[in-house]
Structure formats: C-alpha cells, structure tokens
Symmetry: D2
Subunit: 480 residues, 4 copies
C-alpha cells in the first residue's frame, strides 16, 4: 500500500521545500519535486497550498494517573485520540513506581493500561519513586524494554519526592547507563512550609498556589539538580519550566557546555497569574499546576529561550481534571476513569486542587499560532520544538520527529489558508474546558497520518484504539 | 541530463538517511529509499559505504587581495580550484572599497577579477573602507546586486579602520536595509601602541605578533561592536574569533536574544602560540594572522562554542602568502599573482609579516576529522557548521548549504573508509605550505559536484574556470 | 591656640562615640571621654546633642572653567565659599592642559586662579588634553607638585577627547608612576552621531540631551576603559557614573579584584529624566550635564551600589551656569566671572546648553538626608562616602577626611535637632537655582572648622579667601 | 586605676595614628597626641615602635564540644588561655541544642561549662539542632540573654542536619527577630553518598575526606541557603568558606545587595589538599575538617575575597583533637577533657577522623604575617577582618573590636621589630600540633590587655580563669 502526498510544502527542522512525499506501508520512502519523480501510488493526498509536517511528539503526558484522591480524566484511549486530533502522533507517558513497588511492577502496570488503547504510538518514561539498591539495578535492566529516561521529583515530599542522595545515586546510575534524568525541579520542602502557612492565614484561593511557589523555589531546584548531575556525569532534562530565573540557571550551565536541557509547556507561554490563576472566584483552579503559572513577564523570557535554543522542547504535561463538577453532578456521558469531584476538591483550600491542565490536543496548534504566525520563530524551529527535538532527546529519532527517508510516516497535513477558534464545545478530550478558549488559530489540521495510515481526516477521527504501538526507545541523541 | 547518486548515506544538518539522490540538471529533485523509487538516470554514481554531503560553503576567503605591499598568492582561479579539491563548492569573497573610491567601484573591480575565473559559485561581501553619506546610500543600492553583508574593521588604523561613529552609521544603514554587518573586532588603536613599543624594545620575532594583540583587545572590540549593533538594531557577525574572552562576550549577548553571530577558523582550533607562532626562527611567520593564533587553552573553548552553538560558522579567512621565498628565489613555476617576497617581508620585524594563512582547501577535511572523528560533535553539526549555517547566514539558503528538493546539486561524495595525510606536496593551492602538515584525515573526497556537474573526481580536477557563477545573495535567514 | 569641642557625638567611617575633641592650632590632638581628660582650652564649642563630623571632601569641582562659549559661574572665591557653607572643607578641582599646551602651563594657570582666592583647602587633578611623549613625561614630573591623578575624556571629540591609544599610553604612564587615571567614560564618537541626527530631525529640547546619550554609551566606555586599565596595570577611577549598566561593569571588574573605582553625584541620585530633564519648556536645561540625568529606575541601583561599596565616592562635578539669564538681562549684582547667556545658549538646540549643575554646597546635606535619615546607609558610611574615601582615594588621608589624632581639624558641627528647606533664595553660590529646591534637610550645619578655625558659624561666613591652602596630594591609598 | 599606653601607633579599621591611649578601669577613655594631653596614669606601658591594636575577636570556636565519639581537646580554660596568648580577647563559642532538648537546656549547659573558666570575654551562638514550633519561639526569647545568632547545618544528616523546611522556618523566625542565621553550607546528603561509596571502594586515606566533599557540594549549599534567606528576609552568615565556587555565589548575591556574609579561616588560606591533606601516611588527618581543605588554587581566590570585601570575617572554627595519641599512650600531663584516641580514630577509615583543627592561638599572628607583611591588604583591613567586623557582625560593637572612646580596653601591644617561628613546642593550647609549624611571624605580641588588665605579658600568662565575662550580644550592626 503506497500513498503519495502531492504538491505540499514539506517542512523539517532544517528544510522547507515544495515536494511530493511517497509513503510505502508505514514508512516515508521518497521525497521529490512534483513532476520529477514519476511515482504512481495506491492513494493520493492533495496537499497543494498546505504544509506537510512531521507529526507532533509530546514527551510529557499523564493519562490515567492517580493524583490527590482522584485520577486525571483522560485515559489512554481518550487522551491519545485527543492528541491525534491535535496533530500529535507520538506521546511519551510516565509509568510510575511507587514506594514499596519494584520498577518492573510499575512498568508492567502502565504497559497494561496502554496496551490496545492507543490511537497513536506511545512510549514510557519511568517515574522512580523508590530509589534503593534494587531499583537502581532495575533502571539499567529496563533500558532493554525501551525505557531510557527516569523522572525524579524534588517536590511533593512524602509522595514522589526523592532526597538529594537518592537523586544523586539515580544520576550516577544514569551516567553509567547513558540514560537521561528528568527532573521536576521545585524545592518542595520549602514550598510545603509556605503552603501550610498560607492556609493557616486563610489564604486559600487558587492564586495562593502560585504565590506559595515563588520563582526561586524553582530556580534553586534547577541549580541544585544541575550541580548534582554535573557531579554524577549524567544528562539532565528539566520538565515544565516556568520561571525566568530557572531558565537562567539552565542557560548558564549550557554556556559551560553541560548536557542540560529544558522543556516548557504552552500554558506557561500563554497564561499568567494576573489573568488566569488570580481570576475571580474559583476559576483560577483550572490553571493550577506545578510548577505554577507565573507572572506575565515570564512569558516573553520563555519565548526568547525557545527561539534561541536554551529551551529545546515544548511538551504539555497534559494532566486534566474536570472543573465544573461537584458532588451533585449526575453521571457524565463521557468516556474515561473520572469519578466524583476533581478541581472542585480544592474549593476552600487550594492545596486540595489537583494539579494539571489539558493540553495534548492544543499544543501543536497554539505553538504554531503564537510561535510562527506571530513571528517569534520560523516554522523550522516550530517543527524542531514540537517534533524533532523531543524525538532526538528521548531516543525516538529518526523513527519519529521528522519527514525523512526511512522514518515513520507520521505526518500532519496543515492548512494555513483556514482558521478556527478554540472552544470547550469543539475539543475532543475527556475534559470540560480548554485553557485557550477563544484563541484563533490561523491554520487547521487537514489530515493526520500515523505510520502511513490516515487517522484524522477533515476533523473526523478515522483511527482505532488498537493502532498505537509501544515504542522501544533508544538512548538520547540530543546534541548540546 | 539526470544523475543518480546511489546507496549512500545522505547527511544534512538534521538527517542521516540511507537514500538515493536524483539530480536533474543543476538541481536535486529527489531523495528516496534505494529500491523504492524506480528511477533511471543518465548517469549513476555509486556511493555505497560513503557519505553524500552538501558541498562546503566558505564565507570568508580572500583571493588576489593586496596586503602589506604584496598580494595574497591565490587568485580566483587557483583559489577556487583549491576549494573544489577540498570539498567546498561555494565561496564568498570580499570586494573592497578603499578610501576615495565609491562602493560601486570596489564592487565592479572585484566582479571583474572573479568573472570567468572560478571553478565554483561565488559571492561577495563588501568591505566598506570609506563610510560617508554617499557610501551609506550605496550600501542600500548594492543589495539589488546580491551584496547583503558589509565588513568593517576596528583594527588597522589608517588603512581599513572605521571609527565608532562610522561603524555606528553603517550599522544604522544595515538595520534599515535588513543587511548584516561583519566585524573585524580588535582594538587596533591600542594594538598599534603595543606593536610600536614591542618593536622599539627589539621584540621583533613572529610570536610578538600574538603577544601584542592580547585577548582583551579582541573581547573589548566584540563587546563594543555588540553595544553599537544593539543601539543601531542590526545583526552582527564577528569574523575569525580566536579568544575565549571574546566568544564569552558573544555568549552573553546571545543569551539576551541579540542577533549576534560568530565564526572561527580551523587554524584557531588546531594551532597555538606555544607550538606554532612561537616556533624557533622565522617558522612562526607562517601562522601570523589577525586575530592572532592564541594560547592553546583557547582551542577547547572554541570547540565547545561550536558544539553548543555560540559560534555558528567555520570559515577560513583564507589569505595565503608564500613562506619560503626570498629575493634570491628564482621565478617559481606556479600560477597566481605572486611577486617577490611575501612572509619573508617580516624577517627582522614581525609588523611587516603579511597577515594570513591558507585554509580553503583544508577546512572541510580537518573539521570532519577533528570535529566528527574525534567526537566533538555529530556529522549533522559538521554539515551545519561548514555548509548550512554559512548559507543561511548570508542569504544563500536553500540554494546552497543542504541537500534538499530544489537545492543546487552541490554535493561531496565522502569516503570514510579511506584516509590520507596532509602535506605540502599534495595540496593544490598556490602556496608552499599547509598549516596541517602531517595531519591524518580518516576520509577522502571521492567526488565533488557543483550544480550537478562532477568537478573533482578521485583526486583529479575535471572542472573548468568558467563553470563558477556569481551568486546574488538575499538577506540573512539565520535564526538566533 | 587650643579649642575643645565638647559633648558631641564624634563620627568617623568606623566609630560613633560620645567624646570631646581637642584641637591645637590646625590639628586634632585628642579625643577623650567628657570628664575623663582634664583638658582646658582657649576656646570651647558646645556640641551637646550634635554630631562632630569630618569636613566634607569634594574631589570633583569645576570653578572658572571655560565651557561651550561661556564660563562656569562660580570662581574659586564664590565656589569655595559655597562649599564651606555646605560643610565641605576640601575640594579638588581640575587644572586643564588643552591642545598645544604643556601640562605645566595648564597647572600654572590654574594654580594662579586659585591662589589667594579659596575659603578652604584645595588640590588639583590634571586634565590631560594633549597626550604625547612630552606630556607623558610631565605626568611623572608633576607628581612632585602634588598632582597624582589625571583625567581623560572618551567623550567630547575634537575638544578634550583622547583616543584609545592616547588613553592607553597615559594609563601605562600612570601604572609606572603609581598615579590614578580618572575617566569621563562615554562613547563620545557614537553620541555625536546621535546628537547630529536628533538635531537634524528637529529633536532639540533639553530632554534629547539624555536621549542621545543612551546608557550603553556609558557602560561601553566603562568596559573599554577597564580593559585598557587592566592591560596597562593602573588604577582607574570613573567619574560621575549615572547608568546602572555602567556600574554593573564596575562591579564585575571589582569582583575580579581589579583596582577600579567609581563616583556618582547627588544629582544622579535625586533627579530623573522623567521629572526634571523632560520638564516642560526649557526648564530641563537646568539639569543638562554629562553623563546625563537618566531614567528614574537608575537611582535605586546607584544608592544600592553606594551602600554595598561598588561606588566609593560621592562628589559633585559642580559646574554651574545661570539658567534665567538672557541677552537682555542687565548686569547682575553677583560676584564671579559670568558673562552673557549661559544655559539659555541652548534654547532651540540642546547641543548648545552648557553641561553642568551646581552642587558643591548641597552635597553634604542632601547625602545625609537621603542616605542617613531615609535609612539607606549608616552615618559611618555617609562619612566614608563624602569625606574619608575621597581623601584616601586621592592621597589626602589622613590629613583630610577623618577626625583622628594628627589630622587637620576640618570639622562640621552638625545639628540633627533642627531642619531647613533648600531654596534658591538661601543658597550661597554664584548661581540662580538649586536642583534640590524645596527639599527638607533634617539637620543643619552649626559650625564649620577648617584647620581649627571656624569659618562658618550659625549660617554666617566668618572665613577669608586667603585661608585656603594648596594641598600637595600623595598617591592613592584606597584599598580595593 | 588608670593606664597610659604611650607612644605607640594606634590602628583601627580606618585610622593609623601616633597616639597615646588612656584607659580608666575597663574602658578606653582617651586617645591623644603624645605631649598634647597632660595625662598622668597609675601605670604606663611603653609602646614606642609598636602597634596598639584592638584585641582579636574570634567568632567561631568550639571548646569542650563532643564530636564523633570524643571531645575537642580544649576546654574553656585551655582554649581561652590559648586565645589570649594569641592576641584574641573575645571569643564566641557555640551552645548546642541537640534533638529532644530545648534551646534553653542547651544554652544553660554551655553557660555552665564556660562560667568561671574563661581567661577572656565570651559569648555564645546557638546551634539549633531541633527546629520545631517550640524551639522557634525560644529563638526569640533567648535574644534577651544575648544570643542573637543561630547556626544551622546543611551537612551531617542524622546529627545536626536540618532540612530545607526547618532551615526556612528558622530563617523566617530570624527575619522577624532581627537575628542572624549562620550556616554550615555543604550538601551533606550528597556528600554522605560519596563517602560511603569511597569507603566501599577502599578509599580510606585522609585525602578522601576532601575528595568526597567536592567544591560544588559547598557552592550548591551556599546558593540554596541564599535563596532561602532571601525568601525569608533574614541576614545570612556562611561559616568556614573554603571553595572559590562558593565564595562566587556569595559575591553574586552581595552584588544584588543582599545581606549575606561569609567567613573563612586561616587554615583555608594556608593549607592545601596537595601539600597537607594528601600528605603521606596518616599525617593528613591533622588537616581534616569540614568544609575541607581544598586544592591550592582556592587560596588566592579567598585572599582576594578578603581584600575586596566579599568575605568579611576571619575566624578559626577552632576544634582541636590530638593527633599523636593511641590506645597505648599513657596519661598525658595536660589540662582539658581529652580521653583516649582522637584523630587516630580514623586510621583505616577517614570517615571516623574527628573534624577540626586548632587555630585560636595562631589566627591573629598568621593573618598579620600573610595578610599585612606579605602585602595582601593593609593593617587597617587586618584589624577589620580579625576584630572590627566580627564585633559588628555579631552585635558586640563598639564594646569590642576597636579602640575608641568608651570601648572595652581590649588591646594588643604588637611588636613588628621582632619575630618568632611557630612550633608545637611553643604553642599553648591543649593540643600536640600546629598547622603552621615552621612558619615565621615577623612580629610578636608584647602585651595583651582585656578590659584594661594585662593578661599576657612578654609571653607569660598573667591572667585568671575567672576574669572572662559573658557577653550579652545585641543585634548585628554589619552594613552590607
């Protein structure tokens, strides 16, 4: 079965070329000037006037994750379908080892949840929540299963938190194995003091979530994790960076040539404490996540860091919870593992608001709009940030993240001649709000191909939950 | 006329793929998996086991340039042929406006020198040596002729030197036109004091050339030119950077998001004051250039800056002068404009040594060897540094600098299964030494194609001095 | 003749002690606890409830200086008397060597102007406006006359400007002699381009004086002068710093242990572009000086630099010109060398406004009020900034700048129990405005002693213009 | 009872003056020019040709402290007597609250140990080893007892270690009370991993003590404690700094105007890993302390930081343990609490070497020699570092730390016309080695006065263990 995508503008991290793309089965096998190649295919897609882009790679999602007494509302089925609608053809989610479990047990449990339920290809990072001699050995062993990145938490004491010694030992293990440490970098110990004090003063509104996580609690943790990673000799990838002070720490370390990397997320680039988290009433709960949404002046700094390369990846940290539910809400007619109250758990005390936002569906579009259309960077850099770099960073390149001979035919046909407006009514995830309500995107996704198969066509999902395949990832091939 | 390059490993700044490349006339028209495309071509090149690389782009050469009472020994014919031998398929040389001339006069003179004498495609930057109301207007006008970058000198008072006011006005002009200012950044005024004092103390050996140009005379000028460029609002490209302190200034400015860029040259990465410039006798004169070859510890800093992106381009500043000539040397059996003494002019007084080194032939190979083979960066980054970035920086992309649909078929077939050793006996330029004498390169250039035509084949030049075409360059498309 | 100052609070850079001070002739000879010493003196001053402070040392004044077609309106007589009224007992003015003159001629001319006309002791820095082999030798010779600091200009091309080579040679001379280079650090060459362009666009109001001297024209020059001073090996003292970016350059250099120092002036700490220079009409001309008064947010940065030690001295750069004069103004009943129009010369074109402000009378009081009363630093630091450091910096310590055994009895009896308001009506210099109009000072100067002699008493001048003596200054004893 | 110190050179942090000093009882009551004062005293001290200096203030000593299964060998009697021999007239030791104790219990215990046993005046900082709601309240209450500084540990997990939350809460308490937090800044958690791993690899020699505490484990902790202190709003004083990277963190914070301070100790300025800790055999154990003695190149950085003000205090962290003891050593004829093995506890495993060095006797002399005689800073800066700043920093000024009217007559008569050599045979503490063995000091202590009483005279101790008095300290008066 061959497919020919004709007459489009093919864009990669480096190129922008008028060319036809030939797909054979699951792979891209040819790129050629229209009229020069003589190819006849089983099917043809007309991409005239459209971009032919690599499918998005979102390396930070959370589906079915238990958090704060509830679960994120998207399961692998609803979540990966929403991703597909949004032009993302690969996700890397997080398998979780909790205290008392083996790493393998965590991995197996999450593999089982995803298996047979994914619209698109997926991989797993491993959250190592219990670092000890035995789990360190498992970190090495699980590389053979395609897990080459391990996430640790400097926040959430008593839950997923690791102390500096545990972190350091895991980093030494990663250094030995060539794997990558991912870090949730916030000084959770100091933050917990601030949270307790705020609540005891009656400061319980959602905005105190941000106020009790001041920027230096993030930059301090970034600094510390860089020091530990340098001592251990491993690459470090800091997740969901939001404070300019924190990115500045990364910049200084990268200037010294250290293999340290950072991602930010669309919500840090578009939302602010002033306009969103501190909105009247409980509205701000929608935007409660950690690291927190910060003051507006951080946004331009983050955009600049993306443009100049000090941040390398845009992911979503997708972790959604229903906002407008309460105990009296009747059963909702929605798929997914939701039960009872979600964001509303934190009414009256922000510390009970589940942390997280939806984003897996919106990332590709909002980054194109604010990045490319608004002139912050080129369409090549856009592709690099949402597809190529994430794939290189986490050992999926060149299978994923680009349009090249031999790569998986994960492709978005993107039409810059049309536009649409984000609204809760038209999103596809198992969630009742979007953070980009009312935002106009000056392009639409015409088609999404995953391994050569069209899975979204003109706004309709034509895929299947058994299509997505587990990705055994290799070691990172990210240059400094 | 079509050509098929078969079974090679095609490398671009982003990709590395096993693919065949189809050329139609002067252009690349297809890239496809061997066996998947069904293409039949007029001629075939077997690239099995070899790299298929974009031809090198050297954006800093000097052919036929008068300097210090003599001329560089390579003219456009000998120089571009040497470039071709070394895998470089595009050069950008410098047309010179001297005091009292119009910009146009300088441009016309250099166009005439090059016309009909080049083995490969060529463009011109413009050295503006006389900045005034009229030459500023000419800077704008000459963009239509494909000159979009203008070089100024903070060194060489009384010759090409411009003062800060002249520089600032030229930068304002560039900001208005979208063109780029290239800067020779050395505080020539302070350096001249040091040179005079050294000579008056009898410090006349070649090594005093380096000693009288201390690192901060470079970093100061870089800092100053960044300040002026930021005030004026224009992009700045600092040529031939050699001091780590100077690169550090660039790094700090780039961290702030300023569009400032830097190149270094292979000689700064491989040669040192200790081992080369301070060699016994007059030997060091071979390595006299400005900015100077510095102490060894700068090298690793420069390599690191290339790897991490704070320097974006490797060029040569090719400007060669015969070393082993003297007044008694009989006529040499060599092409080119050489006359009389060259490096030997400075015996007894280093200030009379003509500044410059050969390099246009060696750049591609030595950067591959020291960069890729020795593990300092990937082959993708190599391609980016010697081809893609120079092309993007100076408005030649995507015509030059990559292998993509629609690009010029400037291609190097590179064989990593063989090796050779650099030696004066085997180089091809009009010069009697190489700075890389004895260096082993673990690859050889099998073939060089310029616009689809093979011009070097298995070590033999099969091109023509009428093949090379003038390149009208566009504005820079370099991202920060 | 002995004097006993009784019961006051004696303050030095280090101490604050309840003590009596015994003066014998011109010197302080004893400090002791009241009641413990048994001293009987020829005269007694009751300082109960008052501070006993070292007299102020203002190391940057300009009296009788020709500038822009006029002269500063204070001559040595009116200027030093105003200083005395304001608690300043030592000034260091500038002798000027202009092009074509010897250093000695400049020195002699200024010595003659001051001789017999000063209310207080005075010294001279030397402005070297014509650097050549011969004037460099004179820099060494004049140390014997007590001139140990030499001021150069990176601004005012064509007038006092020196190029980097001249500066560098003067710095080498200073390094050899142990003397200090003072720098007016502004990139005057770039500024002149901006000024010309502004005027040609019709931007002629006073505020364009500031706008055409952007902060980086100051910080660039500071950076460059530090680089040159480090190369030459001499101490550097940057005068009248106003931009936070410029002070930041100093900070970085001092962090590396370089002997570089900076002064600021009260007007940079109290006035702003927004409120003063950009005032409606021609009012802003009062505040035109170079470096310029800048945007308000620089003030807190400068205060912080004074508090933490990155700026070491507060001087005045006193250089006053009448504001409200015009060609029709009849002869004024004022002493001093004023003639014709002064600030009004620049009506219609800010480039003709003479640069400078009065301040020698106000410095001591406004620094006490804004520094000490408003809590920005201790009274010890106040004494250090206005007296001790200037004296140490310029080789006058311990004769001047402190109250210690053997020091000159230059003392201010300062009464924090009273207050007054600055107003044009009550100032004493030969000038028709004060920059601090309406500012309340919560202390008054009760008495000023110069070498043991009361010269100001309860607001009345009781000194004499023949009292002041020339100070042969030694080399700087300023620690880093 | 009055005393007159005649004809000496009186030195303070600011002044250097030829003067007589009059003491009445315990206080300095007069300073006057010889011949000018007419004073007759009960006793006279001839200081002609000698310096009259403030007695040293050592704000970091440990007497009688239990550590690692033994005690430091100096008790308050032997320790304060050794201090007096070395020109130090004030010590501030550490009272310790251990887990389970109240702050008050710790304070009372240490007050009892010192009471009646001190040759000189003494105060206490409080080590808060158990931070909780109740001990936080006690931190406020104990200010009335003259304890205004509280030491926390980021090292020694399981012993004195506090986590970031405890630290932060203590800092908030200090911010509220105006007290100062002292920090042992090392990432003890990461260090413990390195120590365990070293031992398990058989790396047990003393030098591994330094190697397992790399510089960034110090600088990281300094950075973190600065972040927490800035968030809490309290002053921070980092003890015993040894790594240049750590001081650099302090410098950056001070440049921003933060009230953060640092001390170093003579051993970090004179000893190195290369020459001392890595000495053959077990010799290195003498120099095992934490933070560790580091590589030699840190020394010049520390000296520079002292000279330029980024470190403000030189203390000793005096904590001595016998080196040449073993189980077979018969009872030694020495005072103090020594029992059994001390440094030898760590033979075969460096982790058992008690941490610490003697220094209270040597500090004053070695800092004078290496600082003043060797030209690193002035004698004024010497006085500031060893006396004035420590007194201001910890609320003892002006009672201690200077020679001023009303200050305690704590005075050292110091003779720069003589010299001596440090040797184990001639030191006076309860210890069997000095770190400065063989070092020549080009001055000798002629006399030491404590509150007007001579306690050391020509090398003989003439004091009494009941002379020393407890100092109720006030809040810090240290400027930034």
């Amino acid at each position: 079965m061959t497919t020919l995508i004709k007459n489009g503008t093919v864009v990669t991290a480096t190129e922008k070329m008028h060319a036809d793309v030939l797909i054979d089965g699951e792979k891209v096998v040819g790129v050629a000037a229209p009229g020069a190649h003589g190819w006849v295919a089983d099917s043809e897609i007309d991409a005239a006037g459209k971009y032919v882009l690599p499918g998005g790679v979102d390396v930070h999602t959370h589906f079915q994750l238990p958090f704060g007494g509830t679960y994120v509302s998207d399961d692998f089925e609803s979540g990966t379908r929403a991703a597909a609608f949004g032009g993302t053809t690969t996700v890397v989610d997080f398998a979780v080892q909790v205290k008392g479990q083996t790493v393998r047990e965590g991995y197996d449990a999450w593999m089982a949840l995803a298996d047979g339920n994914c619209a698109i290809d997926y991989g797993f990072h491993m959250i190592v929540g219990d670092i000890n001699d035995s789990s360190l050995k498992e970190m090495e062993a699980i590389v053979d299963d395609g897990v080459t990145s391990f996430k640790l938490f400097m926040a959430y004491p008593g839950v997923l938190y690791s102390d500096d010694g545990e972190i350091f030992r895991a980093m030494q293990q990663a250094a030995q194995d060539g794997t990558t440490i991912m870090m949730h970098a916030e000084n959770g110990i100091a933050i917990d003091v601030l949270r307790e004090q705020a609540v005891s003063r009656g400061e319980t509104d959602p905005r105190y979530h941000t106020i009790t996580r001041p920027p230096t609690t993030e930059s301090e943790a970034v600094h510390r994790s860089i020091v530990l990673a340098e001592l251990a000799g491993c690459p470090l990838y800091v997740v969901h960076m939001s404070a300019k002070e924190a990115v500045a720490e990364l910049t200084v370390a990268r200037d010294r040539g250290l293999p340290v990397y950072g991602e930010t997320c669309p919500h840090y680039l578009h939302l602010s404490l002033e306009d969103h988290v501190a909105a009247p009433g409980f509205e701000g709960a929608k935007y409660v996540c950690s690291t927190p949404i910060r003051e507006k002046d951080n946004q331009e700094y983050l955009w600049n860091a993306l443009a100049r390369g000090d941040l390398q990846v845009v992911s979503t940290d997708h972790a959604c919870f229903f906002f407008d539910d309460d105990e009296d809400t009747p059963d909702r007619d929605l798929p997914g593992p939701v039960m009872g109250r979600q964001k509303r758990l934190g009414e009256g005390d922000f510390t009970f608001i589940p942390n997280g936002l939806p984003g897996v569906e919106e990332r590709f579009n909002v980054m194109y709009q604010s990045g490319v259309v608004e002139g912050r960077f080129s369409i090549n850099r856009f592709v690099e940030l949402v597809a190529t770099n994430p794939a290189k960073m986490f050992g999926m390149y060149p299978q994923k993240g680009t349009i090249a001979i031999g790569s998986d035919a994960d492709i978005v046909i993107y039409d810059p001649g049309t536009s649409f407006v984000y609204s809760t009514d038209t999103i596809h995830g198992n969630i009742d709000y979007t953070a980009y309500e009312g935002m106009t995107i000056e392009a639409t996704i015409d088609k999404v191909l995953s391994r050569g198969k069209v899975i979204v066509d003109a706004g309709t999902y034509v895929g299947s939950k058994t299509h997505g395949r587990y990705l055994k990832r290799g070691l990172s091939e990210m240059p400094v």
